[in-house]
């Protein structure tokens, strides 16, 4: 190797070291107990689901008290994006259009009801998930939703999506 290419190689190596530490490295260590639940998401395979369970029957009462005002008495009326379909208001009702049932649990627990998010217990979120799925005919009326059962729910629209990022990346569809 010539002197020049040696120097060039050394330069590349030191630049690479520099690139590895481009910032001042001021991040403080983050402990697991500092991370609120909503900084993660329940994954489609069920990772992240908490203990507890709930049924549609339990969910019905909670829904009537805390959700019906916006989403409709039986979940199809709206006016806000009814979670039960088919309906005349919203072409993408959560309980039948979404590809994974885990999303309903996570979203309701972090974001609903609109004016009091994060007020529901895990059991209430399971019960509301069961209620929405059962009203859509995706699960039976008596099926309890829990960390064991929720990931196994097969959503009817799951195979009906094309993943545009996987097929063409940043090129707009």
């Amino acid at each position: 190797m010539s002197m020049r290419s040696l120097i060039a190689t050394a330069l590349v190596v030191s630049l690479a070291d520099l690139a590895a530490a481009e910032g001042p490295g001021l991040g403080a260590p983050l402990a697991a107990d500092e991370i609120p639940f909503y900084a993660t998401y329940v994954m489609p395979d069920g990772r992240g689901l908490p203990a507890g369970s709930g049924t549609a029957a339990e969910g019905a009462g909670i829904y009537a008290a805390k959700c019906a005002l916006c989403h409709g008495a039986t979940g199809v009326e709206g006016p806000v994006m009814p979670p039960v379909g088919p309906n005349d208001v919203w072409a993408k009702p959560a309980g039948r259009y979404w590809p994974y049932a885990t999303t309903i649990f996570d979203y309701v627990r972090r974001a609903m009801p609109l004016d009091e998010p994060k007020s529901l217990s895990d059991a209430e979120a399971y019960a509301l998930t069961a209620f929405i799925l059962s009203r859509n005919g995706v699960i039976g009326e008596g099926d309890a939703m829990s960390a064991q059962t929720l990931p196994d729910v097969v959503m009817p629209n799951r195979e009906n999506f094309v993943d545009v990022w996987a097929t063409q990346g940043v090129t707009p569809w």
């Binding site: 991040g27 993660t40 959560a94 994974y100 999303t103 999506f161 094309v162 940043v170 707009p172 569809w173």
Partner: protein, 430 residues
Amino acid sequence: MTNSSVLPPQPDFAAGGGLLSRRMLLRGAAAGSAAGFANLAMPERARAEAEIPEWVRVAGARARGYGMPAEQEADVQRAIIEPFGELAQAFSFSGTPHHRLRGTITPSGLHFEVHHGGRPDLDPARHRLMIHGMVDRPIRLDLDALERYPMVSAVHFLECSGNSFFNAVMPEPMQAGCDMLHGLLSNSEWTGVPVRILLEEAGIRPEGRWVLAVGNDAPSLARSIPVEKLMDDAFIALYQNGERIRPEQGYPMRLLLPGFEGNMNVKWITSLWVTDAPAHTKDESGEYTEILADGSSVKFTFAMGVKSLVTHPSATMTMSGPGFYEISGIAWSGAGPIRKVEISADGGASWAEAELSGPVHPRALTRFRLPWQWEGAPALLMSRAEDATGAVQPTRSTWKAKYDPSNFLHYNAIQPWQVTPEGMVQNVYA
């Protein structure tokens, strides 16, 4: 619009309907300055006749700490859209009044808003950005720490993928201004810390392919972002048009993903959670997926397509008589810089290339202009943009044919404006 009765000699037409050559712009400017010179002679009895307004007879106001637009411009406001009114106030939007703006940068106070759970009353001193999941060293950073990182500055548009939804789904064109019709689009200079530096500091592992970005707001809005994008040109923006980001735009920090649909540019960002797969959050499962004509759907449609809009003249405006006008508008693409904008004044029968006002930044609004001699006849104005990848805007019917009738996302069709003989400018589908 600028209307001048003094026309440059021998109009040089570039296309039908009175579209003039771009060269006319320069020629007109040259003629104007020459005229200015000639007029320099002092009018003899000016003092006696000309009005001397009161404000030149008193001392003006003193300096102030933060400047505001002129009082007389107080009606230049965002258009507020609340789909469910009082019932769900936190779900509210506001649109940039593009028909009142003439440059490319959106004033920060007029940047559009789409709030899924309202604007949080956030304490920046207690705000943290956490980086965790599939990393070797989970870390947290506060605002003071991030301030000390190397930063980048770049001009980028943000567009809600639901922008222009009225045109996408209304059976008849709604008569409203660009604020209502196309206002969920804005353009700012953003400054912040590249996400790549932060992910590398945390020691992102090879199995980390996606990152869940979460906001510090009521719904804890969450989106899964591919690692490739974050390692490429994404940054945690701390500044908007030079000053700290406005509360509506994510104060004190937001994610900026140049060219990607607005919803993914998570405001008030508090967490980057590295995962091996997309979480399929609510927004990427339903609200921000598109149903196609055949009933199937597309998901993870991230980049915004090429689009443009004539802002002057545009719907709700009235022409102030026949004569010379400058047609002006904005063009943008999530795929790269704008290469070309063409304008038609005869409903697409003929087209002329507009002047692009440089510098043309990638994934940013680009202003275009073309002189126009409007003779007072009906005209159908359109702009058609092409980006550096060669992608061109579709017509509305071509766009509609791709999707289920309910779809209102990623609408990027050509916008026609009808100019009536009376000078009314109207929204049409043409």
